[in-house]
């Protein structure tokens, strides 16, 4: 094990573990937030693993999760809009904290990668991760205002 995999282990145990607990218990508004945060915590963990195993090709995993994780949250935001409108989630502090953590991880991995094409790819992943996370949170708290059916 090296520093990167230790950091990934900590992220998984504390972050994703907490998200798994949050998604299984409590009111619906907490569950959807936990689902969103689980993807935005697993994505930095995958970046850390890619660096820890010294396999640049594993970055594709983080790229795909950064792209599709928010899409998954949009599914719930869209199809549970009526339930969520009655009791909207309010967890912006937590969301910004997780987005900040993602940013820190991306910067750390970028520094380790050094200048080059891989650096730009990591920055794209970071932008998708943070932008997607914040947009998905926005969608959860009243993103589908006029939803009846459709």
């Amino acid at each position: 094990m090296n520093g990167w995999t230790v950091a990934a282990t900590a992220t998984l145990a504390a972050g994703v573990g907490a998200a798994a607990w949050g998604v299984a218990t409590g009111p619906l508004r907490r569950r959807v937030v936990a689902q969103n945060l689980s993807t935005s915590l697993a994505c930095p963990a995958l970046l850390l693993l890619s660096e820890g195993y010294d396999r640049p090709s594993y970055v594709d995993l983080a790229l795909l999760l950064a792209l599709l994780g928010p899409v998954g949250t949009l599914v719930f935001a869209r199809l549970l809009a009526e339930d969520l409108a009655a009791d909207p989630p309010r967890a912006w502090g937590l969301t910004y904290a997780v987005a900040g953590f993602g940013g820190v991880v991306v910067i750390a991995v970028c520094v380790a990668a050094g200048p080059g094409r891989a650096l730009v790819k990591l920055l794209v992943v970071g932008a998708l991760l943070i932008g997607g996370n914040l947009t998905a949170s926005r969608a959860l708290s009243g993103g589908f205002a006029g939803s009846r059916r459709g």
Binding site: Y53, R55, P56, S57, Y58
Partner: protein
């Protein structure tokens, strides 16, 4: 440690089966079946793992420089993940038909209907 991953696969499979048996909603039962499916992936990949090895993908790795894990089981699991999702879709389509015909998705109510 040498059997723990296999035991986790067994646990996931049994828990999925328990959910299938006790389910009161067919959509929930299909979800439990997806859990059962995922146990097979865990088992396959655990069998193929090798200590200290890395993935047998040589686009960023010099062949022979590091030990690699077993690719055969990965190929088996990989196709089944996607095909399994489409099979889940067929089962959900069946559930939708049942719900249309009988107006319920509770298996207990359905068996009463037939009797």
């Amino acid at each position: 440690m040498s059997v723990f991953p296999y035991l986790v696969a067994v646990w996931v499979f049994l828990v999925g089966c328990y959910g299938l048996v006790t389910s009161r909603n067919l959509i929930h039962a299909v979800g439990c079946l997806a859990v059962c499916q995922s146990s097979t992936y865990v088992l396959l990949l655990a069998v193929g793992y090798r200590d200290g090895a890395t993935a047998p993908v040589f686009s960023d790795l010099k062949p022979g420089s590091r030990p690699v894990v077993d690719p055969v089981v990965q190929a088996l699991a990989l196709t089944d993940v996607v095909v399994g999702a489409t099979v889940t879709a067929v089962l959900l389509a069946l559930v939708l038909q049942i719900s249309k015909l009988h107006g319920t998705v509770d298996p207990d109510e359905l068996s009463e209907l037939r009797g």
